[in-house]
């Protein structure tokens, strides 16, 4: 799939909307803890990426290569759900309001979707 100029523009547009929603959910209510969602979603693809470089999944002789990849996936799954669970936790304990919680979840989802779509579009060219 070729990534044209339109893809880049629309992706950056979505990323900006995501950041707007998260920052708005913080600044409207003067409680800046939902910014942690951004940090979580930026960190989320990192374990997968690091462990993917460490191991060769096509290696059948040494089966420990797969375990490292699985560990990276486990950590990524942990972090992705953390981005949803953190605002819900804060809202449930009356630290932030429920509308701030919904806004930061939607914003975080947009940011993470942008990161995933970006890596899907641009990694296939480096494969071979």
């Amino acid at each position: 799939m070729t990534a044209g100029l339109k893809t880049i523009i629309s992706l950056s547009f979505v990323l900006a909307i995501g950041f707007l929603l998260v920052i708005l959910s913080c600044a409207l209510f003067h409680q800046y803890l939902p910014l942690l969602v951004v940090a979580t979603y930026v960190l989320a693809p990192l374990p997968n990426w690091i462990c993917g470089r460490c191991a060769n999944p096509d290696d059948f002789v040494e089966s420990s290569g797969n375990a490292v990849v699985d560990f990276g996936r486990f950590c990524t799954g942990f972090l992705v759900l953390m981005g949803i669970a953190l605002p819900v936790l804060l809202a449930h304990s009356a630290i932030i309001r429920w509308d701030a919680c919904v806004m930061s979840i939607i914003g975080g989802g947009l940011i993470y979707g942008t990161i995933i779509a970006f890596s899907m579009f641009f990694e296939e060219e480096q494969e071979f």
């Binding site: 059948f60 089966s63 797969n66 699985d70 996936r73 486990f74 950590c75 990524t76 799954g77 942990f78 972090l79 992705v80 759900l81 953390m82 669970a85 953190l86 819900v88 936790l89 804060l90 449930h92 304990s93 009356a94 630290i95």
Partner: protein, 171 residues
Amino acid sequence: MAEERLWKFRKPEWMNSATARSAGVYGAGALFSLAFFTLLDAAVWSHSSRNGSDIHIAFIDWLPLIFSSLGMLIINSIEKTRLAADSFSYSGSGVAWKARVVLFLGFASLAGGMAGGVTVLVLKYVVPGAPWPTIYMGISNVVGNGLVMLSSVVLWISQNMEDEYSYNLAL
């Protein structure tokens, strides 16, 4: 492979794909995260303004989750292929036996975490007769430990898929 089948029902074909396997591992991570945040939510809630009672989350409430996570770590660190005693080369030095002992410790730790969660719920919340919003802290303890159990089951199943998948690919 078909000759060694033990069960009447065949595993569905889609379970052997690499996509289902990685989805299982992601799902296990998500379930473990849900378990951790269920308990963390109870801890934060207990010290927030919403909690009107005298009962608070202490280290005792975290202990079952620590044991469950330890059990999950042990269970999923074991090399699954060493478990089969009739696998020719490994049965000699007693590796299968050792693996089973360690696996037993892991399962005991996991079940102990679950039992500890129920114990905390009963002794700390049910016996003193705590009302609904307070008893949520005890219920979340049981739910969190159950989610750790579910997560380790999902991880176990998706790691067992791996052998079938690599076997199919190697042929």
